[in-house]
């Protein structure tokens, strides 16, 4: 489903964040992306979102090179990809409810459908009581969960999650991970960048380790650290 051929990303300030990455991810896979701080995980996910374009190489999703999408096609591609951003990227002027509903509004979902699905997904992340709050009035973990709710509310084909549990306590984290597994079972491909060792170790999924912009390990059912 997702194929990367020799992908490199060098930022304008000449930092080489990714170097010659080759990777295949099949439909319905659950992949952990691990590696030290600054390794290039977020860069990897931003490339898949078509938030940024690679300096060289091809990224093929469902047979289409997403680097060649025309400007007007990009939004339609992005609707199939949900992303939980490391810095949440919530709209400060909108309430929690409106932030989540926004992902449905852009697809012109009928209002009745929006009114049904938003409270449902807010309940899943445990925020049903905070629907009317604004992002600035939320705790860090609550903001993170709003971002999760927004990413999953329109049932994307691919879910990219960046540091999904960085601001969550272990219990809430496990609740969210159960949710992720549920979503994954329903057919969504999940790529998740994380530093949470215990989650990676316990879930026994495919683990791709990046270091200094290179893929240094790609192991099915692996742990946070390689066997070496």
């Amino acid at each position: 489903m997702i194929r990367l051929h020799g992908v490199s990303k060098i930022y304008p300030n000449r930092v080489a964040a990714l170097v010659n990455v080759n990777l295949n991810v099949e439909r319905g896979e659950f992949v952990f992306l691990v590696g030290p701080s600054g390794a290039g995980k977020t860069t990897f996910l931003r490339l898949l979102m078509r938030h940024i374009l690679p300096t060289s190489g091809h990224i093929i999703v469902d047979g289409r090179n997403i680097c060649r999408l025309r400007q007007w096609e990009v939004p339609y591609y992005r609707r199939r990809v949900g992303m939980v951003f490391q810095d949440f990227k919530l709209l400060p002027a909108k309430t929690v409810y409106e932030n989540v509903a926004f992902a449905l509004r852009v697809t012109e979902t009928p209002p009745s459908e929006i009114r049904r699905r938003v409270p449902e997904v807010l309940r899943l992340v445990g925020l049903q009581d905070r629907a009317k709050a604004h992002p600035a009035d939320l705790s860090g973990g609550e903001q993170q969960r709003v971002s999760i709710a927004r990413a999953i509310v329109n049932r994307p084909d691919i879910l990219l999650a960046d540091e999904l549990t960085g601001n969550l306590d272990p219990d809430t984290s496990w609740g969210i991970m159960d949710l992720m597994q549920e979503i994954n079972r329903m057919g969504t491909t999940i790529i998740m960048a994380t530093h949470n060792m215990s989650i990676v170790n316990r879930m026994k999924k495919r683990v791709v380790e990046i270091d200094c912009g290179r893929v240094v390990r790609d192991e099915d059912g692996g742990g946070y650290r390689g066997e070496a």
């Binding site: 979102m49 938030h51 400007q71 007007w72 939004p75 339609y76 992005r78 609707r79 992303m83 951003f85 990227k89 919530l90 709209l91 400060p92 002027a93 926004f102 992902a103 509004r105 852009v106 697809t107 012109e108 009928p110 209002p111 927004r150």
Partner: protein, 292 residues
């Protein structure tokens, strides 16, 4: 477009207006339109007054002595036929003396010392465009029966140069200031969009099309433009009416434009300018933030 989406756009743009960045631009826009509207009215009045003053320039053609009544009638119809002439009226020498007395006011003593009326019969000739006075006067002076023509030679030329200068300067000033005001309004909208560039980026990242992001901003731009122009129109009309009343009672000789049609047209022009400027400013300045 679904009706729910339309409703969403309108709701969003109203919400946008309520946010402080937009309110600040609204203030700037009202102020700018007030400046524009005031100067526009001043300019219209300068134009009107200069037209009025120029229209006072007319030709007086003095007749040779001893013309018969039919000669005079014949001359009158030939004068009326000269291209550029609007109206020709006969002024008998007695009528002429009466008018001269009224006109000379404080120099009336000049006439008191005269034994007989020094004036000949004459025609007063109003012109369609007073700026042609020189050539028309030349034509008329060559007509048989005409002794001498008089249109305030020298003075008329000076008057035209002066009114043309004042018109050019005020039009130039108005044009420069209008473009400065357009610039100020554009800048206000730009700054307001700039303050929300992160939001635009987030919307695009969540899968919104350019138009989905743009519509609320465009509507907001139009609403702010129209509201700003409308409010300043209201203020303008009140101020101008006060001015008209003041002039009407104290200086009836000053010919200000009081035609409600002209004033309404000025307001409509402002409203239209508001809508167009709000929309284009939003459109133009959003462009670069949409490239995500």
């Amino acid at each position: 477009m679904r009706p729910s989406t339309l409703r969403y756009y309108i709701g969003e743009s109203l919400a946008g207006i309520r946010r402080s960045t937009s309110l600040m631009s609204l203030g700037t826009i009202i102020a700018s339109f007030l400046v524009l509207g005031m100067l526009g009215l001043v300019f219209i009045n300068i134009y009107h007054i200069s037209q009025f003053i120029e229209s006072r320039v007319e030709i007086r053609a003095f007749l040779k002595d001893g013309l018969s009544a039919s000669d005079i009638r014949g001359l009158q119809s030939r004068l009326s036929a000269v291209p550029g002439v609007k109206r020709v009226s006969f002024i008998s020498r007695d009528e002429g003396l009466k008018r001269l007395k009224a006109q000379l006011q404080d120099k009336r003593f000049l006439l008191d010392v005269m034994e007989e009326n020094p004036l000949p019969d004459a025609f007063d000739i109003e012109l369609k465009d007073p700026r042609n006075v020189k050539s028309i006067a030349a034509t008329i002076s060559r007509m048989p029966g005409v002794d001498e023509v008089n249109y305030g030679q020298g003075f008329a030329e000076t008057l035209f140069t002066t009114t043309r200068f004042i018109l050019i300067v005020s039009m130039g000033l108005f044009a420069i200031i209008a473009s400065l005001v357009v610039f100020i309004i554009g800048n206000a909208v730009r700054l307001s969009i700039f303050a929300r560039r992160r939001e635009i980026e987030i919307m695009k990242l969540v899968g919104a099309t350019d138009w989905f992001v743009r519509w609320p901003f465009l509507l907001e731009g139009i609403m702010i433009g129209v509201a700003g122009a409308g409010l300043s129109c209201a203020v303008l009309v009140v101020l101008y009416q006060t001015c008209l009343d003041y002039v009407g009672s104290g200086m009836p000789f000053l010919p200000l434009v009081s035609d409600p049609f002209v004033i309404a047209a000025t307001c409509l022009a402002l409203l239209f300018a508001g809508a167009v400027m709000g929309a284009t400013a939003s459109w133009v300045f959003m462009k670069r933030h949409l490239r995500v």
